[in-house]
Amino acid sequence: MSDEKWTVTFIVFRKKDEQPVRYDTFTLEVSPNEYVLDAVERIWAFHDRSLVFAHACHHSTCGACGMRVNGVERLTCITPIREVTRNGGTVRVEPLRNFPVVSDLAVDMSRLYQAMDVVHAQAVHPLDAAPLEGDGIRPPRQVPQPEEEGEFLRLADCIECGLCVSACPVAGTDPAYLGPAALAGAQLQSIARNPDLLSVVDCAEGVWRCHSAYECTAVCPSNVQPGWRIMDLRRQVVAQRIKALLGQR
């Protein structure tokens, strides 16, 4: 590991209870290969123990440390400082948008979890619905079949970090919108397999609320491709409606 050191100024969003928002500045000597979360932890450990933020796994699995770094939604545990600033530069750290702020950089993610619950988002998916290889959005040509009856399952990609909800320009003006992560969770189950989902997603707060900004896909750290999945869900909804119109099930 290189001994290179950078001097970086961190401008950190602060908010406690009903107090007005303020930004605190901390100048640190860091390795450019460290991650933004490392710097935030160091600020908490050595400069201000009242700083509140969420984190857990440090390897992009838990989805707890999502923040806005220089205005862009990032999973801070996998965002190297080198990627977001330069020696002598600044890094602005803010909480995710479109969620209530609990304190400083920590937000209340209930909105996301409730939406995931509404669509009964699964922790595992059939392999043919969510292939492991390729572009991650089209079923592979040949899905391996287990020797015994049944199907292979895989863990869901979505780590429920909330970056997609924060980046979505529509989620900030419609608190009832299910949001990209939940709609992607619905698409992965498919309406044909789970017809009850139709009424949940075919509504103003479901697939039709999306305005195709694709910011969700741009910030997703897990390659879930929520933008594509919402569009595919629309296609499924229209197909189901046409079938219903023609009297088919």
Partner: protein, 130 residues
């Protein structure tokens, strides 16, 4: 019952803030701005048509005003907004039904290039007439 917690959001202002946005986000922002511009123009257009009811003199006076460079520039903005909004509408309609979603960035670049080419064509036509 507890009041709903206030979202950390600037509401509609976030629709128009390009900072930190990616290509698709820029497409969204320009789509919104062009939609607002075209809506305002629709009202101005109706006001202009209302001049017809006030007799030929009023209408001729309005047409003379409309030939001023600032108004012509405004008309060019309407053409740019119309072209962008219409072409981007086709892009969104396609992707909304699962067509070419993975190419939405390329489609947006094509929309911008076509808008620029169309705007240039109409700008030359307008300047050559006036």
């Amino acid at each position: 019952m507890n009041e709903p917690k206030k979202l950390h959001s600037r509401g509609v202002l976030d629709w128009f803030d390009p900072r930190g946005r990616q290509v698709g986000g820029w497409g969204f922002i320009i789509n919104r701005i062009s939609a607002i511009g075209l809506t305002i123009y629709l009202y101005l257009h109706l006001v202009m048509l209302g001049k017809l009811a006030q007799g030929p003199e009023a209408f001729d006076a309005f047409i003379a005003t409309a030939k001023q460079p600032l108004i012509l520039f405004g008309e060019l903005l309407v053409i740019i907004a119309g072209l962008y909004h219409g072409l981007n509408g086709i892009r969104i309609a396609l992707t909304s039904f699962g067509v070419a979603v993975r190419y939405q960035r390329a489609l947006l670049i094509a929309v911008v290039l076509l808008t620029a080419a169309g705007s240039l064509f109409f700008a030359i036509r307008m300047l050559s007439i006036h």
